[in-house]
């Protein structure tokens, strides 16, 4: 008996579900995917090398521009790396502000993903409503930082901007109503039969595979591994009561549920932070230059990001190395594709929430 004929189908780098370029060579038998080989590097920018020419204080502006979705956390993680090397103690208020902006970033990123997901499986009305809600978070970010995408508020030694107690009260009031609005939309993702038909049981990643393949963020937690870098306690997370959101099925639906639950968790974390933040300084003066090395780790919406900084006492770092969550999630994505139907590939690629802009730093 002849073995089934295998065909290689190129997926990307240009594809309707991919806002940014990534390529997969899909080995298929009929409509079933047997193997997937990834290709990255279409737009690698080499931003890491700019540290050799940019003063370490100024480089935070470059770090924030590595990605347009999680820009604040990129800047924050860079600042943490330098602050740890220089043993700078950041004021408590600045740490709370960092936390609030990080969680606002997470909410808008997860809503962006939900919209892209709805668009991916052809539910255009859901896509538009999700992004309509995301705009409200961007409005809050704009009111507090002046920017909608690039916040410009992270700096070494603290933050550049403060949020007044009146403004914080307004934000909390907005978030109270906002949670109800989001629930109406996310209930569609959770309960609609056509959505579940595309996600439940599709692209299962086991707990063991997710862990050993180095997956991070919602991709990892949807497979039952409770790793969340926020538990390290950076910024003000050590003073916040929360537990990582976990699902156990490991399928596309679980990855969706984790992100939905994290939106509500982020709102609760912001409420907690608003109740604990105290008046005080928002920055300390930075003197001297860094000498040493540190691996700063934070939790971006897509998972753990690493900033490795190495300095020799000059104003220019010897090395900055950024390991982004999408880079860490690529092996998991490649492993969950075999066995799926060709038509499910775009959805499965989306479920790791790929950010190629970060990855091609």
């Amino acid at each position: 008996m002849n073995s089934p004929k295998r065909t290689i189908i190129p997926f990307g780098p240009q594809h309707p579900v991919l806002p940014e370029p990534i390529h997969l060579d899909l080995v298929v038998e009929d409509e079933k995917v047997i193997e997937a080989i990834p290709s990255l590097g279409f737009i690698h920018r080499g931003l890491e090398r700019l540290v050799e020419k940019r003063d370490f204080i100024d480089f935070v502006y470059v770090a924030e521009r590595i990605c347009g979705i999680c820009s604040f956390i990129h800047g924050l993680t860079y600042c943490i790396a330098i602050e740890e090397i220089m043993q700078i103690e950041v004021p408590k208020r600045a740490n709370y502000l960092r936390l609030i902006w990080s969680e606002l970033s997470r909410i808008h990123s997860h809503l962006l993903w939900l919209g892209l997901m709805a668009d991916g499986f052809g539910f255009e009305a859901l896509f538009m409503h999700t992004w309509r809600l995301r705009e409200k978070i961007l409005d809050i970010i704009e009111e507090t930082t002046g920017g909608r995408i690039i916040f410009g508020s992270a700096k070494i030694g603290g933050v550049r901007k403060d949020i007044s107690s009146e403004k914080l009260a307004q934000i909390l009031e907005k978030l109270k109503n906002y949670a109800q609005e989001i629930r109406e939309i996310t209930n569609v993702f959770i309960n609609d039969s056509s959505v579940k038909h595309r996600l439940v049981g599709v692209g299962v990643l086991s707990k063991e595979d997710a862990y050993i393949l180095g997956a991070v963020g919602p991709t990892l937690r949807a497979s039952g591994v409770g790793l969340d870098t926020r538990k390290l306690g950076y910024a003000a997370y050590k003073e916040i009561d929360f537990e990582p959101i976990i699902e156990t099925a490991g399928d596309s639906y679980s990855r969706c549920l984790v992100r939905i639950r994290e939106i509500f968790q982020s709102i609760e974390i912001i409420k907690q932070a608003a109740g604990k933040i105290e008046p005080g300084a928002i920055e300390v003066k930075v003197t001297g230059t860094p000498n040493g090395e540190f691996f700063a780790r934070t939790e971006q919406p897509r998972g753990e990001v690493i900033y490795y900084a190495k300095a020799d006492g000059s104003r220019f770092l010897q090395r900055l190395r950024v390991r982004t969550p999408t880079f860490a999630n690529v092996p998991a994505m490649v492993k969950l594709l075999p066995g799926c139907q060709l038509a499910d590939v775009p959805i499965l690629v989306l479920t790791i929430d790929p950010c190629i802009s970060c990855t091609e730093r």
Partner: protein, 119 residues
């Protein structure tokens, strides 16, 4: 200090056995990264278990020396090793998925070590 970070300097010959030990003890591979210094290239292998971060560091003074790939222990390492090969010119032996210099399509080959300089 947010977390204690242990850095262990090892010889290249001990890399595979040490990595296998981490694998067997349930650590995950967090990242592999390379740094160009005046006297050598440093390669950091970072592992984590329950938020305990450990880093193995090897120094490469001769770019003709092949570094054994850890991708047959941690499959996901193939991404990092191909990246380091393409950006720094480091040679890895037996990568599970070897792109042979085509991982990054950059206009400048070995952009982080453009002249492919010996450290």
């Amino acid at each position: 200090m947010i977390e204690e970070q242990k850095v262990i300097n090892i010889e290249i010959k001990d890399l595979l056995s040490q990595t296998r030990d981490f694998f067997n003890s349930g650590h995950r591979l967090v990242q592999i990264g390379c740094t160009k210094l005046p006297e050598c290239l440093e390669i950091n292998y970072s592992f984590d278990k329950e938020h305990h971060f450990i880093n193995l560091k090897i120094k490469l003074v001769d770019l003709n020396v092949e570094v054994p790939s850890v991708s047959n222990i941690y499959w996901c390492a193939f991404l990092y090793e191909n990246e380091i090969h393409d950006l720094f010119g480091v040679k890895f032996k037996d990568i599970a998925l070897d792109y042979k210099g085509n991982f990054y399509r950059t206009s400048v080959k070995r952009g982080f070590n453009p002249q492919n300089e010996q450290p």
